[in-house]
Symmetry: C2
Subunit: 692 residues, 2 copies
């Protein structure tokens, strides 16, 4: 809905303003005049970005102003250091001024307003300036003037960056949702301890540098994977659901002000090959943020379209001079964006489009291993997210009857590679292509289902994914040594956010199942001295004379068994209603809560979710708790949430290889981008540029 | 109960053995022959330790053996490297062999056995060798031979250590129970963020070195504060409740095999002054482990007795040649161990005993600040644990009507110092005394109530304690600079274990209180984009034009307010039954659950625990949930647990000053001891010694 006005504007006093509400008019815009990129943004020298200016006039609500008429006569200037503030057109030598845009949007000021369905309407006047960059390091001040004397000031910094590269290649591993508590739990499961001393360690434990990064969003303290990936890849905090854009208030999710990602920058500066590897569907936020730009992470068809053709092709009216230009390796799930149909770009066979652009396309692990290393390669191995390590390696029968073949032929995707297969093959392709061009390479490899399984409270599956990630890092280091690239390659391992999760004791699953009341079942959990020792690394028939390390059934860095009688007991900082029995879910990922028909969206304990499948079948959605192995835990989340949620905790960063020392200490998520770009030496040569 | 036998023993085959159970025969003894120190123990050169050998004969149960007759003819030898295994008496040049001891003990093999009251009886034959040390670095093998061919082997390592000290002084801060998730939450509360960028940081964020340590116990994966402090101070993993001993199976908790702590070692090697500072009662585990040795951390009178007189004085039959010899500074709570009465050693006035040993004794902050720096000083500021920062600084009325004066006169301890007061004064005393002797100093300063408040789910109070710790570290660094000791002093900050805790969203406390059903109250919690921004750093009437950092009401590193309408929403991995409303508890620490009279020990929601005190008073122990501000959360812990419990997660280590680089990376809790002892250069001079 567009809004037009020509009314005169008068000076004003501000209405009272309550900060920190859940429901904000517009995330990174605390005033009525908005500048994007907002205050406190740092740029890498030469990194492309758009500017969006907005002036708001709330029609009603606590900030109602000027009769709902936004100032269209706003002005905007930029100054470098202590210099004069030059009009933006002059500063950037623009030949034309963008058109004024107007629109309106509405929001609820709080939950009471939402319950009463009393939205606040805001009218907006706006301009956008596209595809700019600041090449010269230093402080910049951007000032939006509006409403006859009001000002919104944004302090920007273009950081200094070394011109010399420390690393030729960068491999960024992301354990989605992985916290230190999860790494600790995974170590307990997979590594044998004797008298409190681990006999082997996680590969992450042994990296050269340890750091912590803060994951919060620009306008809320809990992040999702889209805006956290944006922070890691662009050095810019953004909003939940936003990929490489700052969130504006317009309805069009493709017109929000964009920023350039490290993958785009690497491609533009070096021409070197790019790898995108994930166990999620490949249009999911963490891989998507390498190469796409949208306010709405759910626009999967446009996201994969942008992988090949860039942002300008998506929406020709907004110039964007850079892009991934078809990543050299794209490996993951998500065939629904490639099989001709409702999920693919314009309903086309998007495999065919990739083939036409010169890609090898592979659909299973056998084909993956057999394909050459010289061509760009698209590997799509399932519809939706790929199979979990625990199902592939321990309970393979769960891969059957999924009808998830990436070809769309309705068969099961049973020959799926794991993260290690994907990553090692990706290295070989990237290295072959980089050798041909005389460049390095950049890859992101994501263990996506740590997060996805924590969401459904399936911590065993999540920790299986985490152990697979650790095993992949170990194999990667060995492989890089083998091909002589270990001294050229910076490896960074981190997460994008956490889930509130920790192990607090040990559970006697046999005793728990034998009890007939929920309160008695809780006595099965031992704490402190009764938490016991890990039963996951011990052969079931071992004797007191056997005090040696037992090699895991699925390799040396995995548990021997996933269903010991004495399981670890873990819990979440927040959860939906669910049932807990602490035994591994042998029949596939959990679904802890299900929706029931009421007047509101209401999720209750899933009657089919029995942590130990050997017990009584449910008979209704309100089952007798006594007939189940687990006991009922009522939720703490809003009942409209069927899953667990992300958490605030800082996450760990582990790094090895050239440039890894920069990853020590405590810093913000955005610093990861700068550290990687510094290591790769991607800074613009300021002498070649004329930024102002 | 003593047990005697002279029966002949025959060779055996082992019965089946299930590892990882909750209920173990004896922690670090997986076989029927036990060696303490057990397999995998490392020593610092010259560090004193006892040896305890046990041979077990279970009378019944799954390990029943030899008709319940233990082998009394066991032998024990030690070899260095590849040398011959010499009998222990020869190896240590002993003039006499210790007496054989015998006893019996019983335990339950699992929860079914406990429910049925079917204990397993074990008869034991044992010897103990006291006050030994190994001065020469290298590998040692200790072998216990028993039952005509069975063997229990312990591999010991005496680590290499530099002779040169890097640091003159060491200040070890322990945030009891402090995880990275808590540090992240505290940062959110106390430090203002603009557009996702913190305008100030925690002091911990800015330390020179970041590490992680693993906290697990020797015989269970969840630790308590006693055995984790033992690990940090002696470099030895031990059992829950054990202070500087390995847990043997005898009934006497003072005869368990001891190890020397870093405080004792520092005193013995350098003669320098020792400081013990805690906001807990001073006989609590974390301070106690500096200077006492017992299997049972609850023996408070004997613990404080040992502070002054050492372990040999406690129990003259067990030689222990070392001790703290009266720490130069003892500051904390716990007057009940000093006021003549049931809690004090032998019922004496123990203040008087300290005075007789030359101590200044102070009872409040005014006296603390006024006292000189030259004498040993005992400062006891309350009965039980000291007041919490939130009560001292924000809700001081909660200090009234406590009758907790340290003098025992029944008045209130209202003039209590905070951790910063305690620590800075302790530094001045230690420095003055060290200067006089020409030595350095060693201090441990504990923020004890991070843990104590997390136990009762009072996360606001816990985070107040954490912020006070951070503020103390900041002030300490400044003070050390001021007195010219910053380049002499290694500061190490860590925790002893975690609590499963994280922030997952923001709660609209006004909306929550206004809802009339538990399920609707849960809708007050916003997640992701609806988690909001911290309201703790914002003045309540700030306007959209006010975008500047607001200084905290209690100083720049604390929140402006503790009760914003939009509070953070946090939860625990495990909890007792309780009610949750996310508002600060203004009337004092929470008591989340209370015991009800049933046939078992059963804890239920405390009807008086209303996170926001402004709402309806409870009328019964089974209240109508709708009449309270919070909603009921059923527990996941055994119903005999009235509190939250510790968790598994690795905890962070921060260090600055000389030697701090050694604290980078990932390691075990025991390594903290070795790193500190290395930094202080406490290694024995092997050339002066004759260890074997």
């Amino acid at each position: 809905m567009k809004f037009h006005t020509t009314g005169l504007l008068t000076a004003i006093t501000w209405v009272g303003y309550t900060s920190a509400q859940h429901f904000k008019r517009l995330g990174a815009c605390p005033k009525l005049g908005c500048v994007f990129p907002p205050d406190q943004v740092d740029f890498f020298p030469g990194q492309y970005f758009d500017i969006r200016l907005e002036v708001h006039a709330p029609v009603n609500g606590s900030e109602a102003f000027n009769g709902g008429v936004p100032d269209q006569q706003f002005s905007f200037c930029i100054q470098k250091g202590d210099g004069a503030c030059e009009d933006v057109s002059t500063f950037f030598n623009m030949t034309s001024e963008p058109e004024l845009e107007t629109w309106s949007f509405s929001y609820y000021e709080d939950l009471f307003a939402q319950d009463a369905d009393e939205p606040t309407l805001v009218n907006v006047a706006s301009k956008a300036y596209r595809a700019l960059s600041l090449d010269i390091p230093g402080h910049y001040t951007a000032k939006l003037s509006y409403y006859n004397g009001s000002e919104t000031v944004a302090h920007w910094l273009v950081r200094e960056s070394p011109k010399e590269a420390k690393a030729k290649n960068v491999l960024l591993f992301i354990g989605d949702g992985m916290t230190q508590a999860m790494i600790t739990a995974a170590r307990l499961l997979a590594h044998k301890s004797i008298n409190g001393r681990y006999q082997s360690l996680m590969q992450m434990d042994q990296m050269e540098a340890l750091g912590h990064q803060m994951t919060h969003s620009i306008d809320s303290f809990i992040t999702d994977s889209a805006n956290s990936a944006t922070a890691l890849y662009t050095g810019k905090k953004s909003s939940v659901n936003a990929l490489n854009v700052f969130a504006d208030s317009s309805a069009n999710s493709l017109d929000d002000p964009k920023v350039e990602s490290v993958a785009e920058l690497f491609r533009r500066r070096t021409g070197g090959p790019i790898g995108m590897v994930s166990t999620a569907f490949i249009a999911d936020a963490t891989p998507a943020a390498l190469c796409s730009h949208t306010r709405d992470r759910d626009q999967y068809p446009s996201i994969v379209y942008e992988y090949l053709f860039g942002a300008s092709a998506l929406n020709g009216s907004f110039t964007w001079p850079t892009g991934c230009e078809g990543p050299d390796v794209i490996f993951g799930g998500g065939a629904e964006q490639f099989i001709a149909g409702p999920g693919s770009p314009n309903g086309t066979d998007f495999y065919k489009v990739f083939q036409e652009k010169g890609y090898n396309v592979v659909y299973n692990n056998t084909e993956l291993q057999a394909t050459g290393n010289d061509e760009k390669t698209l590997g799509i191995f399932s519809i939706s997210n790929m199979a979990k390590w625990l199902d592939r390696q321990v309970y393979p029968e769960n891969l059957l009857n999924q009808a998830n073949s990436p070809t769309g032929d309705g068969t099961d995707a049973v020959d799926q590679p794991g993260l290690k297969d994907l990553t090692l093959k990706a290295i070989d392709i990237l290295q072959a292509r980089a050798d041909k061009q005389g460049t390095g390479w950049f890859m992101m490899s994501e263990a996506a289902s740590i997060d996805k399984m924590m969401h459904v409270l399936d911590y065993d599956r999540a920790l299986g994914e985490l152990l697979e990630l650790d095993d992949t890092i170990r194999a990667t280091i060995a492989h890089l040594k083998k091909i002589g690239q270990d001294e050229n390659t910076l490896i960074v391992v981190t997460a994008d956010h956490g889930h509130g999760f920790d192990v607090f004791g040990g559970a006697d699953t046999k005793y728990l199942a034998a009890q007939t009341s929920d309160r008695k079942k809780r006595a099965a959990v031992g704490v402190y001295q009764n938490s016991g020792l890990s039963g996951y690394t011990v052969e079931k028939d071992s004797s007191p004379l056997n005090n040696t390390v037992v090699i895991g059934a699925q390799g040396p860095n995995f548990p021997v068994t996933w269903d010991p009688r004495y399981a670890y007991a873990a819990g979440f900082a927040a959860n939906p209603d669910h049932r807990e029995g602490y035994a591994v879910n042998k029949s596939g990922p959990r679904l802890p809560a299900v929706e029931v028909e009421t007047d509101i969206l209401d999720n209750v304990v899933n009657p089919s979710d029995q942590p130990d499948g050997e017990y009584h079948a449910p008979t209704s959605v309100c089952p007798d708790a006594d007939s189940f192995a687990g006991f009922v835990v009522n939720g703490t989340l809003s009942v409209d949430q069927p899953q667990g949620v992300h958490s605030l905790t800082d996450v760990s960063v582990f790094a090895s290889g050239p440039g890894s020392e920069a990853f020590r200490g405590v810093y913000n998520s955005i610093d990861i981008f700068f550290k990687i770009a510094d290591a790769l030496g991607l800074a613009a040569d300021a002498s070649d540029c004329d930024s102002d």
